[in-house]
Subunit: 428 residues, 2 copies
């Protein structure tokens, strides 16, 4: 490897952090401060908030392709990727206006290679051979997030969380840490809008952040966390609304062994984007569940939690499962189409449910986390409708109206309001 005169850094600014020219200038000042501090910087930018929505509206008006003419996602990518392109050019211009040498590299220029999954492409490789030496020589590289160069030689976009993913992939290629600038100043023990006692976490480990992202925390896309975990990229979440050079809090996302002290539970997450589908009076014989989940799988529906209930007196049982709310109608249609094969009597849809999750790597080595959870919810008279667990997470499905009180009660029960944001390990 070539010697690096400066330590490298990737800085990513999301849509609200580059929403207008004033915000872009503020973001550029944060970049300039890092350059002044001796960093070799690559910047990844999102589209200005609102711009992409305008483009998406236009593509909706354009209408779907006639039969036989593809799915239109390739041209959708041509249209929407230009939002990030505009920000990249503007950010570079403002940086130069501030006296910072800089240049934009579009996805096809870096290049950021992807597969041909237009609209939801996956990054297959990032070439840093040009960009790396350029930033080491003091030229800030500005790269539009969300876009890549498909194996078909065309522009691709990465889908949801794309710009976070671009930033982490670029950081991996540059062997640099990645600062994600957003409209909050870090990762919290729970949503501060629900529980004002929520505290910012100074550090969380990759597996916890993955669960938190998957369970509804919106601060960082799960696929970006996954990529950071796989490539061991240290990621920090920071507020772009703070002053350049001033302490800005922030949350480091690191390996478990880089975190000094583990808490039993790090965070309580919740998601209102849930729905519950209940099939009544299923025949109680082998293969029934398989037929249900075959039908859902064929419709590309991701089932989260499953509960089977059978009353002793009957030979028939009920089965309930939860899905993302936007998949609820599709799930209803899929099981109804298979009603004869499955053999249920009726199907019910409940969109008034929420998922509440407690997350922490500490629960791997400590018993009692689940017990505290159920005791706490019982004390609040909150009925648990379904449960799912992983090694470091317990999720429960509850009535939507009780979700906030569940979050508050659990936040208190695990002592999260007392988490200090100061006593953690220093930056890596």
């Amino acid at each position: 490897m070539m010697p690096r005169p400066h330590s490298r850094l990737v800085m990513k600014f999301g849509g609200t952090s580059v929403a207008d020219m004033t915000r872009i200038r503020r973001a550029a000042e944060l970049v300039a401060a890092e350059v002044k501090a001796g960093k070799a910087v690559a910047v990844v930018v999102s589209a200005m908030a609102g711009v992409t929505n305008q483009y998406v509206t236009w593509t909706d008006v354009a209408g779907p392709p006639a039969p036989g003419l593809g799915d239109g996602e390739d041209e959708y990518d041509v249209v929407v990727s230009s939002g990030e392109q505009v920000t990249a050019g503007l950010m570079t211009m403002v940086l130069r206006n501030l006296g910072v040498a800089s240049r934009s590299w579009l996805g096809w220029q870096v290049p950021i290679h992807t597969d041909t999954g237009h609209g939801h492409a996956r990054i297959t490789g990032v070439e840093a051979d040009t960009l790396g030496p350029a930033i080491d020589q003091g030229v800030v590289a500005v790269v539009p997030g969300f876009q890549g160069l498909g194996a078909d030689g065309r522009i691709t976009t990465l889908g949801r969380g794309g710009s976070d993913t671009t930033a982490v992939a670029l950081a991996a290629a540059l062997h640099a840490p990645c600062d994600i600038y957003t409209d909050v100043d870090g990762v919290y023990t729970t949503d501060p809008r629900v529980e004002p006692k929520a505290r910012r976490l100074a550090q969380v480990c990759y597996p916890e952040m993955l669960e938190m992202a998957a369970m509804g925390a919106k601060v960082l896309a799960a696929r970006a966390v996954e990529l950071a975990y796989a490539h061991q990229v240290p990621v920090r979440v920071l507020s772009s609304f703070s002053e350049p050079g001033q302490p800005r809090g922030g949350t480091w996302i690191l390996n478990e062994d880089q975190i000094m002290e583990h808490r039993l539970v790090s965070a309580v997450a919740h998601s209102l984007d849930e729905a519950k589908v209940t099939l009544r009076h299923l025949p109680d014989h082998p293969g029934t569940a398989a037929r249900i989940f075959d039908a859902l799988g064929a419709a590309d529906i991701n089932v989260d939690m499953i509960v089977q209930a059978r009353s002793e007196a009957q030979a028939r049982a009920d089965l309930a499962f939860s899905v993302g709310r936007r998949d609820a109608r599709k799930a209803m249609n899929a099981v109804k189409a298979a009603q004869e094969a499955i053999g249920f009597s009726e199907v019910l849809l409940d969109e008034g449910v929420a998922k509440v999750s407690v997350i922490g790597v500490g629960m791997r080595s400590h018993a009692g986390v689940a017990q505290t959870l159920f005791a706490t919810l019982a004390a609040q008279k909150i009925n648990v409708q379904a449960i799912s667990t992983s090694e470091i997470k317990i999720s429960v499905l509850v009535d939507e109206a009780q979700a906030e009180s569940a979050v508050k009660a659990l936040h208190a029960a695990y002592g999260l309001a007392e988490v200090s944001t100061q006593n953690c390990a220093a930056t890596p």
Copy 2:
């Protein structure tokens, strides 16, 4: 050359012809009609009217680069080129929605090679090896105008009239004619807003169109005409506001030998973007004029007409010249800075002047055109302040307030209201 199953056609739509999704759909219907008629079509699109202005405003707010960090034109190109990219994607989507197989090729994908003159790049070559066979196989190629791939591997833009130039260059590479769709239905004998008796010309030849574009007719960029002339591309100007498949008038721009019958004068053009600078009391010795035009040349100012006047009684003369109105202040500053070397007593600026031109290849072989012009203006009591001529054009500088009556009088004097738009040669 490979055999071509269809005859090829390039269709170009300007900013007002793709101003919104309704206009884009109308343009796509015009494309679909040509495809249905058996044409192999490449489409060149401008940015949606207004979009580029928004981008330019943002780049203005970004401010100029700090000293030593270049002129910023490279990043300006990154920002503004995305306007055409958006239209290209949307046009392709609408074409597919209408059942027309199509695909966008961005400037760097065709590629349209240019030099590195960011903001005003010149096309150095167009590769049609991929695009040509694609359209021959029935896939409409949609190409954003105004943009190219610079020799530095970056996005360039072509400056004023860029999309017309892209269309003609692509037509040259595809050995195809080029239809320019705009908000008027052709080239007129004069501006119909000034003279309602103006008639659409069925045909004009390249040299006439070049003079007309240079003399103020805005229907087609002069550099695009120049390129069409050099590569012998038949160009037609048409209205995008007409019905698909319906007769749409139009003006063919062709070689002189393809035009059946030449008129003495084809058109009267006028431009209000003029200014006159007068230097008083110049020393009457050799080298004075050279010093004036050296100073103006060094300031990159294009001088159009020049008049020198000397009264018999004096050893000192006056000199007046005309420049584009946007260069007037710069011209004043340039001559003032050289006042001592030149030796004039005072300098006067008159921004209330206009240029009126009569254009026609017929005047090469016919005397009397100039005579008619001066007699007509004299009869209207219009004072001619300066004159310039070419082989096929006579321009005069007049008081701005008299420009419209000069246009009307000359239009009548050369019988242009009686020009038939029907009795010309058929399409090539």
